[in-house]
Each structure stands twice: as C-alpha cells, then as structure tokens.
Symmetry: C2
Subunit: 328 residues, 2 copies
DNA sequence: CAATGATATGGAATCGATTTCATTTTAGTT
DNA sequence: AACTAAAATGAAATCGATTCCATATCATTG
C-alpha cells in the first residue's frame, strides 16, 4: 500500500504539499498540483482514513441501537437513516440490543473508545442517568423511543395524538365499549399511546374496563389468543385498538375462522400500516407512522452534531395518520 | 480525554509498561500492574481504538452490501450476521446499494481507504472482474448472490434444488401445465431456480410454454396483474411457481376477489416463507430459505479471514425446504 | 563467584496522515 | 530599485497507541 510518503518521494515534493493537494488547500501551484496528482495516480494511492481520523480527531460513523433488525418498523427506520448517511458519506453501524441493558452499554462503550462518532437510540432499556455519562464522548440522540428525563435531542412520533386519533375514530363509528391491547412492556411510546386512548374516551364521557385491556400482545399468535379472551367475556368490547398490525391480523383471522363478522360484531384497529394491513381482506384500518421521516431527520441532526453543531435539548414531534380501511 | 501518556505519568511508569498492562503481556510485575490499573481507573482511561487500529493495522469492521434493508429477506440476513459480529465484538456496517453499480463501488472504496476490514456481498450488480481488483485491500466474500466467475468464497442457497423441489411438488399434485413468475432481473439465483424448474419438468417429460413465463414480478401489485394475465390466456397453466410470497399473495388475493378457487382452479406456490405466508387463509405453500444459517456462516468466515485466515475459493451450498400449506 | 537465562522496565521508532511555523519565492506598489 | 504583501514550499511536531531494542535486576547453576 502506497503512503503519502511514497507519493511525496515520487513527486519530488514534501508530504505537506501532497496533503495540501489531497485536501484541496490553496497555495499550491498548478504545476506541482498536477505532479502530485499523477504520482498519486501512478501509485494507486488513496489516503488511509484511519490515519486521517487519528490526526483530525473526527469520526464519521454513527451507531444505531435497535432491538432487532427483523422487526419491520426498525428495518424501515434504519433504511431511511442509511440513505442520509450514504448521502454524506457517513458510515452506519447496526447494533441489535435484543432489548438488553448490557448490550446497550456494550455498544455505548464504542463511543468511549472512539470507534464511533455518535449514537442514535431507536429504543432504550437503560435509564437516562446511565446513558448520560457517555455524552462527554460524543453526541447521543433519541429517535422514536426515549427514557423519561432524557436531556438530549429527541425526534419522535406523537403517540399520544395517535392513540387519541385512533380512539376517536372508533368512537365516531359508534363504539362505546373499546378494548386495548399492548405488548406488556412499558416504554414512553406505549404509555403515551394509552394516555391518548384514555383522553379520547374521557373527552367523550367514556372509560375503559380493566377486563378490556389485553397484555403480552406481540404477534399474530397473540392476536388469536386475545380473540378468544374477548369472546369469553360476558361484557365484551365492540372494538379493539391493537398495538400492532400483526395482532390485529391475528384477531381478524381468528374471527373469520369462527364466523365473527369484522367490523360488524368486532371492529379491529391496527397500528403501523405494515404491508399486510392493506393486502388483507378486509383491509385493516390502522395508524400510519411516518417512520422514514423521523429516521431521516434523526440522521441529519446527528451528522450536524458530529460535524460540530451544538446539541440542543430539542424535541421534534411528528403526527401520526389514520388510515381507514374495512376492519373498523 | 486521558491518553496512555497521562496514565504513564500518573503511574510514574513508561508508556510501554502501560501498553503491556492493557494488552495483558507478560513481564510486568504484579505491583506495577496494580499501579497502572488504578491510574487507569482514576483517569477513566480507555484506549483510543483509532490509534490502535493505525498502529496494529487491523480493522474489525465488516461492511455488508444489500439492495435495501426494508426487504425482509435481507433484514433477516443482516440480523443473523449482526449476532455473530457482536459475539466477536466486530462492527457491522450497513450499505444499501439500491441495486446500483456505482453505489457498490462507492462502498468498496471504503475497503481501499481502510475504513473497513472486509466486505460481504449479499447481492451484486458488478461483474467479478470489477470487484476482483479490490481483493488486495481486504477479504471479500459472497453470501446469497454472486456474479458468474467469482473467485472468492461463496456461501449460498441451492436455488436449483429449490426450483426443482417446488416444481416436483406441483407435478406430484397432478399439475402438468406449470407457470413461472420472476422479477425480470437476471442474477445467478434467479437463473438457477429457473434451471431447477426446467430440469424437474424435463425429468417428468414436461415443458413450459413461453406464455406461462411472467416477468416483472416483484410485489403484491404485480401478483394481481399477473392473475389477470393468466386468466386472459386461452391455454392456461393450472399452477404457478412464483418467485416470492408477495407475488403469490397478490395472485391469491385477486383470485379470491374474482371467485377463482385456490388451489383447485389455480395452485400457487410462493418463495421465502415470509410471515404472511403462514397467516393467510388459505396458507401459502412456499419454499423456505435458511437465511439465518447462511448469514451466520458468512460472518463467521469473514471474521476468520480478517483475523488472518487464508481465503479459500470454497463454495458452501445449503438446501431449501418445502413448506406445504393450502395454496397448492 | 562468574556466567547465564529469565524477568522487568524504558527510550525511541513507527503506523500514515495533518498542521504549525519558518523560510523562500513571486508579484505588486511606490 | 527597494520594499512589502501574497503565494508556495518544506521541516518537524502531533494524534495515541504498539513494538523493537537496549538495559537493568534477579535468580539459578556449574
């Protein structure tokens, strides 16, 4: 591998001049510039970016922490982030935390050892106080989810508004007995969404029964189980606000198998607007989250911060959109 | 940020000794070892890995080139790769090529500039000759797809066997008029799969009509269109082997809407075994690809190569599995 | 007791770039 | 022609580690 030294020698000039040519600095005569260029060409020289990073103390790599990539929400989020990163020639490192506290810290340590320039949390299990101490090593920001008390830039979706909007839609369709499913995990997003639901109910003089709240709702299988749990109730909800399209799909599939009409006997509202939602028959009404938008915004901001911007404790909140199909 | 120099000064020892402690080298007395340890502790010192990389000329980061992350096949593949990378404390960099030749080369240049230690191609648009020249800068291997003539390690799925197996299944179900859909792109995988189909037909004294080959089949929408194309034919296939579950889903959905019975009037075989395949009613028969397995194997091999293994021109081929549901 | 090998430690070179500072050359002004 | 500012160039320091080589101490052995 040719080094800057080799180029300098071949060109009969100093390393300084070669460096100036590489970095397009002024005060190099056109003649020498050409000499250097051809020497670089001849040797197939490219600057060693590790050496550059060490010298300039910059690191144009961003780590993104997500629970797992096979979750479509996160793969779409990272997809959008990578587009922006590539645009600025930044590198994007994938870190799957598997929702583990220790894994998160493991990846944060990469910030400490200067392996990466900044960290975007797309989900987080640790408390803010434990993450905070890493801020001194580089910019940290949150996209989508964030721990309570976060003192760092946050770009997220207005889950409260999403919960409110979805619930209001069900109420407008004439439902007064509305059920709710959620994963059972407690994070800001899930909490806010539930707050939105309760707020909408309250604003319309309604409330939710304890029996109508279903936990551990992650996938289609859970949806199937929840269908039976609903049917087993004496006082049943006539509509369910599920936390995900998968769960909605599970409920709808089981309902069909058992001859329960959707939405007449049971209305089902999904969340996410994943491809399946539009393809099912009946199509699943759902709440669309502008994932790509927050992904792009987060990466844009991160790049600015790494390039020397000042981290402002700013909160950006994007609205969710209701997509009405046939299931409600 | 504390440097090794600071630690040495505080401990009253040389940088050499501190380095020896960091790297667990012998010939350091237990006493000094403790002195160094506590100095490191006191200063909150961690070695700068950029400096380490420069000095040791090692780079424990791997770039994975995929068309796009929102394609579930690739997000699952990368998921598996990241698990292994994390295990060895390697970094995984995501590179979405958007199936663009130039983008591929852009990322390959990162190998040249030493930003990354090795590259895994999960798909590739460039010819082998154009990729070959980058081998001198670090290990390159192919996982899933590869250009003809590749002289690098390949880990892939036996698409020929997959095509054969799927076709044989349809023949066993009594079909003699079998249609085929594919993306229209030409890569080794798609070609091999088609070869498998033709081979199975030939072995049973059958053949395919030009009219029964449908191109530009990427998603559900295309599936819908293809359904009508099939129905418009005078001499119709009674079964279709689609290149993806999405396309199969599109055909099935449109068939149902038009009262065409699946599988009686038209049998549909998918590919990939994506979650929807099992959830649909009727469930989609499909060909399952052990994606996680090739992902893990590829990353294991890459790490060995980066650690100084000898790249052998080896080809690892994993079999596909048939999953029979209700659509065939 | 001298010779030898194992253990411990540090000085200085090195990895491959950028940048400061000093020096020389050129161009412009009076 | 003399003077000054701008342009061009290079020597050497620097980023933060590792490692080669030299040297010093210690224990062991014949």
């Amino acid at each position: 591998m040719a080094t800057i030294e080799d180029v300098a020698r071949l060109a009969g000039l100093s390393r300084t001049t070669v460096s100036r040519v590489i970095n397009n600095h002024p005060y190099v005569s056109e003649e020498k510039r050409q000499t250097v260029r051809s020497a670089m060409e001849q040797l197939g020289y490219v600057p060693n970016s590790i050496a550059q990073r060490l010298r300039t103390q910059t690191n144009e790599t961003v780590a993104v922490l997500i629970p797992r990539l096979s979750n479509p929400f996160f793969s779409h989020l990272v997809d959008a982030m990578e587009d922006i990163a590539a645009l600025y020639r930044f590198q994007l490192i994938i870190c799957q935390t598997k929702s583990g506290k220790e894994r998160e810290i493991l990846y944060l340590d990469w910030l400490k050892t200067r392996q990466i320039g900044g960290v975007i949390f797309a989900s987080s299990e640790n408390d803010w106080q434990d993450i905070k101490r890493y801020q001194q090593y580089g910019p940290i920001l949150f996209c989508n989810e964030y721990p309570p008390g976060t003192e760092a830039p946050i770009i997220h979706l207005d889950q409260l508004q999403g919960g409110y909007m979805g619930t209001q839609h069900l109420i407008e369709r004439g439902h007064t007995k509305i059920g709710y499913c959620y994963s059972g995990r407690q994070n800001t997003n899930i909490r806010d969404r539930f707050k939105g639901l309760k707020l909408a109910l309250k604003d319309h003089g309604l409330s939710i029964k304890e029996d109508w709240i279903f936990k551990d709702a992650y996938d289609t299988k859970d949806g199937g189980r929840i269908y039976y749990e609903i049917m087993a109730l004496k006082d049943r909800p006539t509509a369910v606000f599920t936390g995900s399209d998968e769960v909605a799909l599970g409920i709808i599939a089981e309902a069909r198998r058992n001859g329960t009409h959707v939405p007449k006997e049971l209305a089902v509202l999904g969340f996410d607007d994943q491809p399946i939602a539009g393809l099912m028959d009946p199509g699943i009404s759902t709440v669309y989250q502008p994932v790509k938008d927050i992904g792009k915004m987060a990466m844009e901001l991160m790049i600015q911060l790494i390039r020397g911007g000042h981290p402002v404790q700013q909160i950006t909140e994007l609205p969710l959109h209701l997509i009405v199909r046939a299931s409600t």
